[in-house]
Amino acid sequence: MAKYSIFSLVLNSLTRHRHWRPAWRKAEPRPEYDVVVVGGGGHGLATAYYLAKEHGITDVAVLEKGWIGSGNVGRNTTLVRSNYMLDQTVPFYESSLKRWEGLSHELNYNVMFSSRGVLNLAHAPSQLDVFTRRANSMMLNGVDAEMLDTDGVTRLVPNLDTSPGARFPVVGGLLQRRGGTARHDAVAWGYARAADRQGVDIVENCEIEGFLREGDRITGVVTRRGEIRARKVAVAVAGSTSQVMALAGIEKLPIESHVLQAFVSEGLKPALDTVVTFGAGHLYISQSDKGGLVFGGDLDGYNSYAQRGNLPVVEDVVSAAVAMFPCFSRVRLLRHWGGLMDMSMDGQPIITKGPLDGLYLNCGWCYEGFKATPASGWTFAWTIARDEPHALNAPFRLDRFRNGYALDEKGRGPYPGHH
């Protein structure tokens, strides 16, 4: 598969684009691999790519139950940031953001990463104090952070209602200029193509139905398309984690699956050139390069596998959007959809060896999945290849809950729907 470049573009333009090749092979599963990655979302594909590129393990299959891009990697609101607070979380997400900055070149695929800035709005002096603490924590970890007052917010986002009479008056904000957005589909396709070019087999329509085991050791998977043996099986299936792990006999995990909705409006001329989040209610909004306003808010609030949301949250999110941006009140909603969030007990992921021999688990991504794709894949590949966590994902082990090391940034306790 040829490298994409200005020459391949010109050549294909001159031949009327009839000779583009598919970005990855439609691989048939072989009976045996070194590593089988279950789940062909962003994280599974990134894991396979880094296994091949960083660790030389190219005998890898990625098994996807649907098609590439059908899950959360194509359902999120595309935000990328590293404005976290704990000493365990900031370095991890910052390593991800650094990878985003060079990702298009690394993958030879334009993921349209745009550092347009992520602004968290504060609506009370106490909230501004909390943000200042977060900004300090970020800067101590070497991450850019900037505090804005009301005038600063107005200059940055002129369309936002920052008047004293606003429904939620703005007193300031926390800005991370290096944060931004990326094209989510391109991330899936880019990683799939890059992994494929390293020799990884990407097998679509291949749901797993069970695990092969010898005693307590996992030695492969049973799929719709036959048995596949593997030295190591890595699971990265987001909202379906509990179902897949139940096949391995793991009955309980610190995870609940919830539905989170996202929305896109009709296309507009450029009106919003940064990402704005309103944490006091809940709204995050940006404008895609195509012109649609992309936004979202709270979880629907109850366990769900429906991949569709209910109307109360539609009303809630849209009314928040209109309260913050009165100028968008007549914009029409184009689509809304739901994705399954694997909500963990502390709002942070699990990237770990185990819980059985031969098995590796990557789950519990809550709202953090998309932005963490590069770091998740990179650290998970490290963990699989070396049988030990990298320093970046060592805090994200499964036994942290049992042992009292939960990474609960907001101190909300073991209520997955509240993170």
Binding site: S240, S242, Q243, E251, K252, L253, P254, I255, E256, S257, G301, Y302, N303, S304, Y305, A306, N310, P312, M345, F401, R402, P414, Y415, P416, G417
Partner: protein, 94 residues
Amino acid sequence: MRILCPCCGERDAREFTYCGDASRVMPALDAEADAWAAYVWGRKNPRGPHEEYWQHAHGCRHWLRVTRNTETHEILSVLLEGPWRARHEAKDPR
């Protein structure tokens, strides 16, 4: 989504607060740490019927034990939680 409150009748889900998995059973106070860890952190997270608590916060304020299908959002059963259930089922007006 609507929930049939045994006390108030069928009401919009917005009147209710979701209070999580109702199938968990609290261990004895002197149980081992592992039993407590499993209770506090472990969830079965089923795809299909799920037993869960909802409180009718904007109504009678009763806690309800609801069985709901997490795949279809269909409500399969609703029971009052606590001593009121027996009275309610006996149609005792106290």
